[in-house]
Symmetry: C2
Subunit: 426 residues, 2 copies
Amino acid sequence: MSTIVSVDTVDIRFPTSQELDGSDAMNPDPDYSAAYVLLGTDAGDGHEGHGFVFTIGRGTDVQVAAIRALAPSLIGREVEPILDDLGGIWRELVGDSQLRWLGPEKGVMHMAIGAVVNALWDLKAKRAGLPLWQLLARMTPEEIVDLVDFRYLADVLTRDEALEILRAAVPGRAEREARLLADGYPAYTTTPGWLGYSDEKLVRLCREAVDDGFRMIKLKVGADVDDDIRRMRLARETVGPDIRIGTDANQRWEVAEAIEWMGRLAEFDVAWIEEPTNPDDILAHAAIARGVAPIPVATGEHGGGRVMFKQMLQAKALSVLQIDATRVAGVNENIAILLMAAKFGVPVCPHAGGVGLCEAVQHLSMFDFVAVTGTTEDRVIEYVDHLHEHFVTPTDVSGGAYRAPTAPGNGMEMLAASREEYTFHG
Amino acid sequence: MSTIVSVDTVDIRFPTSQELDGSDAMNPDPDYSAAYVLLGTDAGDGHEGHGFVFTIGRGTDVQVAAIRALAPSLIGREVEPILDDLGGIWRELVGDSQLRWLGPEKGVMHMAIGAVVNALWDLKAKRAGLPLWQLLARMTPEEIVDLVDFRYLADVLTRDEALEILRAAVPGRAEREARLLADGYPAYTTTPGWLGYSDEKLVRLCREAVDDGFRMIKLKVGADVDDDIRRMRLARETVGPDIRIGTDANQRWEVAEAIEWMGRLAEFDVAWIEEPTNPDDILAHAAIARGVAPIPVATGEHGGGRVMFKQMLQAKALSVLQIDATRVAGVNENIAILLMAAKFGVPVCPHAGGVGLCEAVQHLSMFDFVAVTGTTEDRVIEYVDHLHEHFVTPTDVSGGAYRAPTAPGNGMEMLAASREEYTFHG
């Protein structure tokens, strides 16, 4: 038996706004940041649990304060019972009768729980000597459903239905694990498409993306429709007809505006339109989805959690579901979302980029492939080539695919030197 | 010209959990608390701006940290241009491109903005020598719509439609102001109905409520259906057939459960069922509303903001809309919600109780009566007789009505001695 002895937090900020990397219609000047958490135990095995909430600058301190508010729920407790029942600790943290007032189940407090839950998963995976995706994909269907809080999901997904989905995927797990280790998981790149880039840089990066083996790229849109038409034309001319081009409006539009704008971009064969409007506006997304069909609507990086995703699926508000590793309350909640998406037959194409999101979210898609849906069809993980050098096990993306990580853990561990160098001191 | 020179914050917690006041199915042991903010200027006129976020104990420190994160946006700025354009500062704070990542427009960061915005309104009202409701109700329709951010509302309410609603209410403003000052605004009381109370206490408090002139009471339900039936029967027998009895499940149920449970309580003539399920579950509320009709569904105290309320109205998910003074981003956002409710013809019956919520929210209903809907029909403000003694201008509720406040300000100023005595020191 060992004990959790420390819950350390760090406010880490990279000055990315100086480069205009990551600029879009809603986020003109992000400083990619992390409210970082590091769980220490007295086990003496050298294993720590790492997790973080991805933020974009100001407010990272608030997110750090929220993680600190969770420390008393963990410090001094035995490690093994917690790691053996991560569904239990999830329910305990999310259900805290006083803290839940601050959401419930959304915003700063919910993301803080996600960081802590993810750090516990990191610790569990490192102790097991497995990458997170493999740890998850080797659990039994019964163990997996125990991770999920089905409260408020009964109208679309019961525990029994989830079990059925997972049991159906048991045959073939080993074969898919082997395929994943051999071929990786399809990626797409957002690197060419930031609004702050010149046309020359756009064209050059589009060409490089194709040369690098990507079969899909994504462009930010929504600031100026004539600019968007010109950039889409340039991109389409550069990559040819066989490469998919997604678009991302970063919440810029009203319903009618979204439909009209996408009508003007439709000629370029758009793979999807992402975040056309306010991310909590389920009914607006549904109206836009009807209005821009057959262009699929994609959303989720600002998703408010399993109850919001449930409704997005019920209302046919999205046809591409974009989970995010640090927006909801960690691995457990993302499993709930993956299971609902599987029930509805909606492909999950995770949001990534920022700092460390690629490292983290790949594990969830790979778990999905091996143990939930059994397919990568119509599925791609976002890739942006920023800031990977700061991680202990940076993503390995080549030939347009995420190579399956083999190092133990959840991928979120940042190099100690980077954590120190980019610690924000106000 | 004067300058904002300080944005002070305090973590204030009242140990209410020791008394079981405020206990319900979801919140067994709240310690009514406030993340308090106090804006100081160098005007030398003795006026400060007071505001707070209501919380229930743990996590108040996180909420305080979020308010502190907003201080740099205010300190050192000229007061008058901000107070002259409170719509502008609202958009600036809510739209901060880095802070909005922490929501957007929900949870800890959004409520922090609400506290600051409300403190600015307090300062403005004190400078004007008017209670907030009167300050608002004397603004022109054009000034009022300038306070509102119509972004993401275009599919249900445009600026022009809002203007039309407000202009239609201009005739009669003076007469309604006089009526309000004479008669007050109808209140209902939740005091009898907390789950922690014995049957004897329930009956005694029901009788006292009727004797005090209340025409409606509310009971917490949702922990045990047989208990609820017994308590509803006792309450109905005590108050007779003419007093309305609302029920509040505090998010306890799944859809099917809510419909079945309320079927068993229907015989007691239920005024409404409040928060039957997860507060963000618009579609579930809509399904419950269809299933429990004609019992109205009420919700909103955990509402995620104007976009969520918009959808609740669009989906017919509620027929009683419960605004809260500190859950959304302050007065401005609540005006947006009042205007949408007016457009849909849905009565607004504010959530109150906690600490200071009665003092704060009465101003919004009174503004609505004078300058928006012009009616109090089917409208009541919640009242709970807790902790009013800590406020500089405590609510005056008598004869079942909130007496219109006449003291300048928004009602949120807590006595300095109380702030000091209940400051939480970890």
